[in-house]
């Protein structure tokens, strides 16, 4: 199993300010369009290494939210069985990966499982500050998902 790679901050996504033509129409380009000849559009930059992709490339939903005031939970869903099974079977999404992504003890990963009925991966971690108390940075817990976006998978982009 390939170890997940967390790209360094300097290679994280960069906002592209200039306007970019997509299919002949002007849009506000807030991402780098990659692989524009394919039907599949990728929004995350930089382009991952050959033969790999980001979890954010594969997911149709990738979000965080409180699960009660003491936990934050991550829901990652996939649009079709093929993508879901590829991600599930590549073996990267494990309890230790979640702990490493958030720099926490594995013991503080409270749940970590795939949920076939919804083609989803779910992980739940302990909050560092109880929701809304002094020291809080995100009362709803809804902006804690970004590290998952950039998790590198040994699955090529299409």
């Amino acid at each position: 199993v390939q170890k997940p790679i967390i790209p360094s901050a300097s290679t994280q996504t960069k906002t592209v300010i200039e306007k970019k033509a997509v299919n002949g129409t002007e849009t506000d380009g807030v991402y780098n369009e990659c692989n524009s000849s394919s039907a599949k559009k990728y929004f995350l930059t930089p382009v991952p290494a050959e033969g790999t992709s980001y979890l954010g490339d594969q997911a149709s939903v990738l979000r965080s939210k409180n699960a009660g005031p003491y936990e934050i939970t991550f829901d990652i869903m996939f649009a079709d069985d093929e993508t879901y099974l590829k991600v599930k079977n590549c073996g990267v999404l494990t309890q230790s990966t979640v702990a490493r992504l958030y720099n926490i003890d594995e013991d503080d990963v409270i749940a970590c499982l795939f949920w076939d009925p919804a083609r989803a991966f779910k992980a739940t971690i302990k909050r560092h500050a109880v929701s809304g108390s002094y020291g809080e940075t995100d009362t709803h817990g809804s902006q804690q998902h970004a590290p998952f976006l950039y998790l590198v998978l040994p699955i090529p982009r299409l």
């Binding site: 967390i6 699960a67 720099n103 749940a111 949920w115 779910k122 809304g132 002094y134």
Partner: protein, 485 residues
């Protein structure tokens, strides 16, 4: 427990919105009412927006929001005799918020000269002596392993403690007063009013009743795109769920995915008296392509005598003040950590009383704090937003700390400084804000109880056009002697 004398082959349950007070479409609501529904059921509760409600007595939505939504619901109850069941009044389910909802309903009835409505209140605040006794008896444990053990101090300092009732108090209320019009519940397990209504009408499969309630308590959040108004049709072996908004549809995946939302895990959902097991649930897309039929969830009751309710409590924890602003100077941004450390030390030198001071640095790790590993000095942000946040025992002390911190943040020197007139761009004048009390959750525990009903007193008021006319039964702590309706 008595059940309805009128046998129905299916129940149609309307939820116009997943949170009372958030607003919904009047047109979709009335169209559903005209087609016929057996009940309007809504949840009003959440711990999501923090501890301030429980600690300080706030509500999730301002009174005007509740008035707007309740006016539409009560109109339908008046004209079409559709019963309304509401859970977790005001967000936290505090007794005062149950009374607030009843008061709003009384006003609506009076203003519109509606018929007399029978409105039931179910209270959920748990007296502290009960909680202390249970704690001594080792009958209270943390709700999940992220929660610390409960201490007597937590019980003493909580502003109020609510217990999350199961379906039983609702079922008793319906059975005791079968001609009720509206039930306003205190803190309730979100699907409890749904499950109670199903049980009363003879739909006794709790796997189906709770699973339906789990989905419906969020309205049409389980549809795609997510929507507000939802209809459930409950039968003995299955239930259907469909959004009322024609631009939205339920799909097998969107419905199955809802089990993930705000839950620790999607397969085992613990609640009062047992757990809902979803691994065996099946989802079938109906030919209209926007309704999903659901079967197969199992409810596993706790073993006899192990019934638990979740307790929730929060307390004030000092007063806080903030200031906001930004830094654009790259020389200062490059040494931000050192600068903040010096500002912090300079404040400390001037203050004798105890306080907390932190800086939330937007552009660095203001959103994720220590969870963020993407910090790196080789990617320097162009500008940094800073929120200085002080907490102390009084508002005056918190104001004093934040004032000093802002002054030092604005005027302290730093190495290689070129911009000597000021370091900190402030968008507002006055430059700081007194924030009132800070609060924090201190109770999130499960408590074993012998009787699922006794801690949740029930009363019924007949609300006539002129307002509150009579109270059939005043609130008592134990309702065992209550008059059978």
């Amino acid at each position: 427990m008595a059940i309805s004398p009128r046998k129905k082959t299916e129940l149609r349950i309307l939820t116009p919105i997943g949170m009372l007070g958030y607003g919904f479409s009047k047109d979709l609501f009335w169209a559903a009412i005209e087609e016929g529904v057996d009940a309007i059921i809504l949840d009003s509760g959440s711990t999501d927006s923090g501890p301030a409600k429980l600690a300080l007595g706030n509500t999730t939505v301002v009174r005007e929001g509740y008035e707007r939504d309740l006016a539409i619901l009560v109109a339908a109850c008046h004209s079409h005799r559709v019963p309304i069941l509401i859970g977790s009044a005001g967000g936290d389910g505090a007794d005062a918020h149950v009374d607030l909802f009843v008061e709003i309903i009384a006003d609506i009835i009076a203003k519109n000269s509606y018929r007399t409505l029978n409105v039931i209140s179910i209270y959920s605040e748990i007296p502290k002596d009960v909680v202390h006794k249970k704690l001594e008896d080792n009958a209270i444990s943390p709700c999940g392993r992220a929660v610390p053990q409960l201490l007597p101090h937590d019980v003493d300092t909580a502003t109020r403690i609510v217990g999350q009732m199961g379906l039983e108090p609702y079922l008793k209320a319906i059975a005791d007063y079968p001609d009720f019009d509206i039930i306003i519940g205190g803190r309730a397990y979100d699907p409890a009013p749904y499950a109670a209504f199903c049980l009363y009408h003879g739909f006794t499969d709790l796997g189906i009743a709770y699973h339906m309630g789990k989905l419906m308590e969020c309205g049409a959040l389980c549809a795609t795109p997510k929507a507000r108004e939802a209809l459930a049709i409950v039968r003995h072996d299955s239930f259907d769920i469909v959004p009322l908004d024609p631009n939205s549809r339920c799909t097998v995946t969107s419905v199955a995915a809802h089990a993930l939302y705000e839950k620790t895990r999607p397969d085992i959902l613990h609640g009062p008296g047992g757990a809902l097991l979803l691994a065996s649930a099946t989802y079938e897309q109906l030919p209209d392509d926007r309704t999903v039929r659901i079967r197969g969830a199992k409810f596993e009751p706790e073993e006899h005598g192990k019934y638990t309710v979740k307790l929730e409590g929060a307390r004030p924890s000092g007063y806080h003040s903030i200031f906001l602003g930004g830094i654009r100077d790259p020389i200062l941004i490059a040494q931000l950590d050192d600068y903040i450390t010096r500002v912090t030390a300079a404040v400390k030198e001037q203050i004798q009383f105890s306080y907390d001071l932190r800086f939330i640095n937007y552009g660095v790790n203001g959103v994720m704090g220590n969870l963020d590993q993407f910090l790196s000095l080789d990617q320097m942000p162009r500008e940094i937003g800073i929120c200085g946040h002080a907490r102390a025992n009084t508002q005056a002390e918190a104001d004093y700390v934040v004032n000093l911190a802002r002054i030092y943040c604005t005027h302290s020197p730093y190495p290689h400084q070129l911009a000597t007139a000021g370091n900190f761009a402030m968008p507002f004048s006055p430059c700081q804000v007194s924030m009132g009390q800070v609060s924090e959750f201190c109770i999130y525990h499960v408590m074993q109880i012998a009787d699922p009903i006794e801690l949740f007193p029930i009363k019924m008021d007949m609300l006539e056009g002129a307002g509150l006319k009579s109270s059939i039964e005043s609130m008592t702590f134990a309702i065992k002697n209550s008059v059978q309706g």
